[in-house]
Symmetry: C2
């Protein structure tokens, strides 16, 4: 990670920091109602499409890895992938696994107030599955004492 | 375009079809409250991340072109780029130019009921600007008689 990189405080408050991929930090939105992961690329550029094309492609490969993880480990009907940034301007990419019977289907998850906090054991278990799925590209920084 | 490709009827009803890029159809959401373009890749796969990586990269270049067009031709504060597909499963990528003073900032545009229809002259003018911005990659299919 670039040592200049600082995670936005709102993302830090709303999410668990799970670990790092080569080009981004991997967060878990603390809402167990849907599997909701977020990649925060190590850049100070706020728009994905303004990044150098090579960096875009590298981040795209990380989006693919996380998407594969969600499709393999959850019974989901649709992925929702989005770079929005209206509230938190720091570039971050949502990757959300949706089910036709989830709490707000077919509406989008952004702007929905309902939440269900994870307990630490659930997050720890998720990190273990991610380590298997993402292999040596993923380095966890999650700590049970967090 | 692949001759097997058929645009989803809801996208057809909600949008103007502006033309084609090499790998996707370009639509304009018929809501003049925000500049809202949609790329519909020529594929029957519903998940972007399940496409072959080369096709993903080709589509990404078209997302970049459309994003550049929005940033150059509108005064916008943030791009919102998303592949959702909960209502219309056909793969389509929203590229929306947002302003801090637009009709629903900072909320996302999906699920907002407010709309303002374009008139045909506005769409025609937009197509002319797109032809300049996208160059020979873009072939318009928009017809004033539509």
């Amino acid at each position: 990670m670039n040592t200049e990189f600082t995670l936005d405080s709102r993302l830090e408050n709303d999410c668990y920091e799970l670990g790092e991929l080569p080009h981004s930090l991997l967060l878990l939105m603390d809402n167990a109602l849907v599997p909701w992961l977020i990649l925060v690329p190590f850049t100070d550029q706020n728009e994905f499409t303004n990044l150098e094309i090579e960096l875009q492609k590298n981040i795209l490969e990380e989006v693919n890895l996380v998407s594969d993880y969600l499709q393999t480990n959850y019974s989901i009907d649709k992925l929702n992938i989005a770079a929005i940034g209206n509230v938190v301007s720091q570039l971050h990419i949502h990757i959300v696994g949706r089910r036709r019977d989830d709490y707000c289907w077919p509406a989008v998850v952004w702007g929905q107030p309902e939440k269900l906090a994870y307990d630490q054991a659930q997050v720890s278990s998720l990190v273990s599955r991610l380590e298997v799925a993402l292999g040596d590209k993923f380095t966890t920084t999650f700590n049970l004492e967090d």
